[in-house]
């Protein structure tokens, strides 16, 4: 059953990050003309992410019901599923979380048809992504330390969501940089993303460190335990993400005007997406393991 929990967690985190990054990019990074040009692509990405978010969210709930209850039979036992929703900390968060995931579906269908549609989707997806900072290890502590722990996890989810979730939009924008109609807007979006990206990366790193401290502060440090070994691997992957991001920004971007920068930046961004998938795989397992 744990394998299914890892599976649902992976796709749920991936969908929430992608949805948030896409909506933020459309709402605040892309100037209006570029937003319209990217809309068909971004709407498809958002809709797919919204469906995955909801399906994996329900799958996560049913798997948790089975693991809190008596096994597979309880994954589809309405009494146990409703007991999880009604009477556990996870369930109280998840009731709101699934309600937001349901609201996100029509919001993705309406993004281009209503004014501020992408802004609304960005807010809803921020609530969905931030909600993931209220469960699991983030909810293990009580009192003021517990509040700090949850705040750190929420900030980590949102800053990582901005960083990782916007990468797909960035690749699309790179394809428009040489366009006579959208080149200037694409360049502006690229620079806005780069500017805010520095802040997002700094927050993601700082909160990543504080999250690890909250979880491990009383644990005996032993990198041979599965949790700490995987956390160490995650830190190494995050460091390689950071190197990739710095190379993309400070080596490849300056080569864009008259050199091979666009192709190199696209390849570098694809590499970042692949590393982030590896990091998400670790995150989907780490939340289920004991720190010590």
């Amino acid at each position: 059953m744990d394998a299914w929990l890892y599976f649902f967690r992976f796709f749920h985190y991936a969908a929430a990050l992608q949805l948030f990054g896409t909506a933020v990019f459309q709402a605040w990074m892309a100037p209006p003309n570029l937003r319209r040009a990217m809309s068909a692509f971004e709407e498809r990405v958002a809709l797919c992410s919204a469906v995955v978010l909801l399906v994996s969210g329900v799958g996560w709930l049913l798997t948790v019901a089975g693991s809190m209850g008596s096994g597979w039979a309880d994954t589809i036992n309405p009494d146990v599923v409703f007991r999880v929703l009604r009477a556990t900390q996870f369930g109280q968060v998840w009731t709101w979380h699934l309600a937001i995931a349901v609201m996100i579906l029509p919001a993705t269908a309406l993004v281009s048809r209503v004014r501020m549609g992408w802004t609304l989707l960005a807010i809803l997806s921020a609530l969905a992504l931030g909600g993931l900072g209220l469960i699991g290890h983030a909810s293990a502590l009580d009192g003021f330390v517990g509040v700090l722990n949850r705040a750190s996890h929420i900030l980590h989810a949102l800053s990582s969501g901005f960083w990782l979730g916007s990468l797909l939009s960035l690749i699309y924008v790179l394809g428009l940089l040489r366009s006579s109609d959208f080149g200037r807007d694409a360049d502006m979006a690229l620079h806005r993303f780069s500017g805010l990206g520095h802040g997002a990366v700094a927050i993601a790193l700082a909160t990543g460190i504080s999250n690890s401290w909250f979880v491990l502060r009383h644990a005996e440090l032993n990198p041979t335990t599965p949790y700490q070994a995987m956390l160490l691997l995650k830190i190494l992957l995050v460091c390689s993400m950071l190197v990739l991001a710095l190379v993309n920004r400070y080596v490849f971007v300056p080569r864009i005007p008259n050199g091979p920068g666009i192709r190199q930046l696209r390849d570098g961004t694809i590499a970042e997406i692949v590393v982030s998938a590896a990091i998400l795989t670790l995150v989907s397992v780490l939340g289920v393991l004991s720190p010590s």
Partner: protein, 126 residues
């Protein structure tokens, strides 16, 4: 070179996911303290047991049973959390326990959503 990175990381991500599915799930919270304590020599039946864990527990998924040496289950009252401390589970004992050795079996879900279980022995010797 970038293609090599992509292939390398794709292989790493696949390996991690497949590898992670065979990892055991380790307990998060644990039983920290009991009243009566594990080392206490009991001469009379306690009126209740108090099990304190390292994290708060979900009362809706908490179970405690007491069985005697004949494997007969002793009736316990409705479990509750200590109103002052949501890490402590209170187990009323509704019938006086006679002299003998009993096994207390517990299973709880900790606040971070993980099920843990265990047992300990308790002896009453007047």
């Amino acid at each position: 070179m970038t293609n090599l990175w992509v292939k390398g990381y794709a292989a790493l991500a696949s390996t991690l996911f497949v590898g992670s599915t065979i990892l055991p799930a380790y307990a998060h919270a644990d039983l920290a303290e009991t009243v009566p304590s594990l080392t206490e020599a009991l001469t009379t039946s306690p009126e209740e047991l108090r099990l304190t864990f390292t994290e708060s527990v979900e009362i809706a998924f908490s179970e405690v049973s007491i069985v005697d040496s004949e494997k007969t289950e002793i009736q316990v009252g409705e479990l509750s959390l200590d109103p002052e401390d949501n890490k402590t589970l209170v187990v009323p004992i509704e019938v006086a326990l006679v002299a003998g050795t009993y096994t207390v079996e517990w299973a709880v879900v900790s606040a971070d959503g993980h099920k843990i279980e265990g047992s300990y022995d308790m002896t009453i010797a007047p």
